[in-house]
Symmetry: C2
Subunit: 184 residues, 2 copies
């Protein structure tokens, strides 16, 4: 927790999530968030365009890490294993308690849910692009990317809802194995 | 085309899509749509809550048809084949030219794109629920439903973008075969 005390951005994210959970997203203002984090509104706007962006600030970094992991994966890996492996290591950076709180806030607000789905669709398109850059055909890249996004979403749901499900990467491996059984 | 002349609801949908394509979604008013369809605004509101709902009016019927097809599928079919078959026959009711125009309007407007993704997520949850009602386990229902939604989305994209791709059900069969190859 020491990190939050040193890092205004992290403290703002933590405070925002607490307040969204306590009062609801709509009822929380930027002033409330800055106040809880012990910074000025001006500091808030140095890091985030608005209160919604607090919830989605990590998605660009996640996407960049996933694209990078695909580019540097061994060429012997299949397109699906490449994409699933990259998303799984991206997901291993998530912190479970934070992810659970964030998901609860998003599930309670349809416009946030819509935004989350759009971010995931954008990630799927980036994964397909990164596969094509490795020489995978358009059609195979599209199918492998969307299938890997499905594995990612299901692994995430399992990981945050089932305390016995193990680490994120284990959930991802389990879901992919199950998908192979169901398609086989 | 005779149908449009007799059916105010269909004529409104057709006119709305034309206007959204010509002027953009934001620039089109309900008054414009009613005028083009040759009806009053009052008639418009008898069928649709707002101009956005014109684009999404069919999704409830589609979802009901898909859930019904899952419930009545032969018990010998696997969960994935049950879900894919139901979505594929639902998709076979789409009209290609209308679907192409509608997709172009949605792609041009992020808030419509978000709404479309939310409708698809809702459909995925309904498919999982219909599989569970057939005795499929929670985890298998979730994986089969999400995988079937992936096949549906990819089949739809292929069907509207590639004139040589055949009928919707053919696209769906092709994508599922390809997914089986990539996961195998």
């Amino acid at each position: 927790m020491g990190r939050w005390l040193e890092d205004a951005q992290g403290r703002l994210q933590h405070s925002a999530l607490e307040l969204f959970g306590e009062r609801g997203f709509e009822q929380t203002t930027v002033a409330d968030i800055a106040d809880r984090a012990g910074v000025t509104e001006r500091t808030f706007f140095r890091y985030f365009a608005d209160k919604r962006e607090v919830l989605f600030a990590g998605s660009r970094e996640l996407q960049a890490a996933v694209v990078e992991a695909i580019a540097s994966a061994p060429s012997t890996l299949s397109p699906l294993d490449t994409a699933c492996g990259a998303l799984s290591s991206g997901g291993s950076l998530f912190v479970r308690a934070y992810s659970q709180q964030r998901s609860a806030v998003i599930a309670a607000n349809p416009s946030l849910h819509e935004r989350e789905l759009l971010k995931l669709a954008t990630m799927g398109a980036a994964v397909a692009g990164a596969l094509r850059a490795r020489g995978v055909s358009d059609e195979n890249a599209a199918v492998a990317a969307e299938t890997a996004m499905t594995v990612f979403k299901l692994a995430f749901e399992r990981w945050i809802s089932d305390p016995g499900s193990g680490e994120f990467e284990q959930c991802s491996t389990d879901v992919l194995r199950q998908l192979r059984q169901l398609t086989g």
